[in-house]
Structure formats: structure tokens, C-alpha cells
């Protein structure tokens, strides 16, 4: 089961879960993913130490996709 999570005030919230074998869950996840991006979130997949990839389409084969807010110089 793959997960789309959003970092927020609750720690994090699971926005969607899907499996590649279940087209309905995939469609829901893609719709949820787009809605979050429209809200100003950035989506990325962490590949372990030193590497993460920003994604603009939901990578259906990823185990975990994380949504984050922008950062800025303080």
C-alpha cells in the first residue's frame, strides 16, 4: 500500500492510500495529489540520505510521497 502524506500541524496526515492493482484507489490518490498541489504544497519522494526528488505527477510506484510547504530564508 502506497501513501500520500501531508506534513501539517497534526504531525502528518495521510491524504490518500493506493495500490497499483486498484484503479479506483489510484484515481482517488491522483485527484487528492492534484488538489494538494493546487493548495500550494510541494510533493517529493525521499530516496534516502542525500537525495529526494520533487514530483509534479503522483509516482504510482513510490511507497511514500510527502507533501511539504515552502521554505524561506529567515
Amino acid at each position: 500500500m502506497s501513501r500520500l502524506i501531508r506534513m501539517d500541524r497534526s504531525g502528518h496526515t495521510t491524504v490518500a492510500e493506493w495500490t497499483a492493482e486498484d484503479p479506483a484507489s489510484t484515481e482517488e490518490a491522483v485527484a487528492a495529489f492534484r488538489a494538494e498541489l493546487d493548495q500550494g504544497y510541494f510533493a517529493l519522494v525521499s530516496h534516502g540520505a542525500g537525495s529526494a526528488e520533487q514530483v509534479h505527477e503522483l509516482p504510482l510506484d513510490a511507497d511514500l510521497v510527502i507533501l511539504r510547504r515552502p521554505i524561506a530564508g529567515g
Partner: protein, 238 residues
């Protein structure tokens, strides 16, 4: 100070203008989207970081040397002026220390609730890093992250970059824009942005201080000293 820490100090007409589109990371991945908000900045690179370090050293010397010279002249002029000479020496020592203290502040933990949301955020953060980094974060609240520019220590409201060799530290003021996030989520935001585009991260962040690691070490809180010592040790091996 040589490097501006304020966006207001630079303008879109700056000759060092770098287009966001041309700012893709060297590894070929996507550029940090936040670069669009600082289009006027020159993209950070090895040469730029070395130059920034030299300028900070020059600036420190420019602050300290006149006071030291004044102290020597006063002391030589008359013994009665010795207290003023001592005062000059205190200034010569104190001004660079104040800048170092400003830099060290980026390693301070951010405020915020440490209840259930923080425990949830901490769980996610722990999943993103290896055992060694997780352990160090547990003790110091700073996350160790090796990079191409050096060894990073990412905190909740900023990051320290220990340059290869371990002698110089750049202190960056940078934070997640959502103030409602629990502290570990703020750190995770910075860590993931750093992993996405290290050069972009160093460009977006504001350089608060660059100087000797010993100077920063003296100004950070005790737990952060341990993290800095580990980062310096790792950086010596780069």
C-alpha cells in the same frame, strides 16, 4: 557584513542575476521551487561559498585590527591609558563574537508544542534518516546530513554547513513558512528541501555568519556542540 542576509539588499537589477530556469541542480534533478522567490540571487556554488568565507574573514579582521592597533597605541602612549587599551581589546574580541552568536542562533530549537503532533512528526522524521543521524538528533535536535558542499546540520530554524576540512562553518537562517508545524516537521521540511536541491537550498537560505568552527562551537548550546563536533569530524574526512 560582506554577505547580505536581507532580500531587501539586492534588487532584480543586480548584475549577478541568475534565472530560475538556469538554476537546475548539478545532479540533474529539479531545482528547488523556492528559488523563484529569490531570482536576483546568484546561485550558490563552491567558488561563491569560498568567496563568502573569505569576505567574512576580511570583515572580521576589519572589525578587530583597528581596535587592537588602538590598544597598542594607547598602551604605549601612557600607562594611564591602559584601561582604554583594555577596552579596545575587549571590543576587538567581542564584535566577532557577537556575529558568531548570531550565526549560532540558527541551531537553536524552535519553540512550539511538543505533544502528540510532535511525536507523530518525529516518527516521520526518523523514517527519513539512518540510525546514526537519528541518534544524534535525539541528543542534540540537529540532523546530520552529508552533502556535496560539506556536512550539514539541519535544525528546526536553520542549518549549519561545515565545509570540507572542518575548519569553517556557514550558518544559514532558513525555515518552513507554516508556523503551525510541530518542530520536527519544520526540520523535515528543511531536510527534504536540502535533499531535493542542495545548491538551491544554500541559495534560498540567508547566510547569517561564516567563520571558524571553534568560534561557532563556543556560541551554540551544549547539546549542539556535540553535533557540531561530529559534523566537523566528518567534514575532515571529505
Amino acid at each position: 557584513m560582506p554577505i547580505s542576509s536581507s532580500c531587501a539588499d539586492r534588487s532584480p537589477g543586480d548584475s549577478a542575476l541568475t534565472s530560475f530556469e538556469a538554476a537546475a541542480p548539478a545532479c540533474g534533478g529539479a531545482a528547488l521551487p523556492e528559488l523563484a522567490n529569490v531570482r536576483w540571487r546568484t546561485r550558490a556554488d563552491e567558488r561563491g561559498l569560498r568567496r563568502a568565507g573569505r569576505l567574512w574573514t576580511l570583515s572580521t579582521a576589519a572589525h578587530a585590527v583597528p581596535f587592537v592597533l588602538a590598544a597598542v597605541v594607547l598602551a604605549a602612549a601612557s600607562p594611564i591609558l591602559l584601561p582604554f587599551a583594555v577596552l579596545c581589546l575587549v571590543h576587538a574580541w567581542g564584535i566577532p563574537e557577537l556575529y558568531a552568536a548570531r550565526g549560532a542562533r540558527v541551531a537553536k530549537p524552535a519553540g512550539g508544542a511538543r505533544g502528540r503532533p510532535e511525536r507523530v512528526a518525529l516518527g516521520l522524521l526518523g523514517d527519513l534518516v539512518d540510525h546514526r543521524a537519528r541518534d544524534l538528533h535525539g541528543r542534540t535536535r540537529l540532523m546530520l546530513e552529508p552533502g556535496r558542499l560539506g556536512v550539514w546540520l539541519v535544525g528546526e530554524a536553520g542549518a549549519l554547513l561545515v565545509r570540507p576540512g572542518g575548519r569553517r562553518v556557514h550558518c544559514y537562517c532558513v525555515k518552513a513558512t507554516d508556523p503551525s508545524l510541530p518542530p520536527s516537521d519544520r526540520l523535515a521540511h528543511l531536510l527534504l528541501a536540502l535533499r531535493t536541491d542542495e545548491i538551491g537550498f544554500a541559495t534560498v537560505a540567508n547566510l547569517a555568519f561564516s567563520g571558524a568552527s571553534w568560534r561557532v562551537r563556543r556560541r551554540v548550546a551544549r547539546p549542539a556542540r556535540e553535533a557540531l563536533a561530529v559534523a566537523v569530524r566528518d567534514a575532515r574526512g571529505l
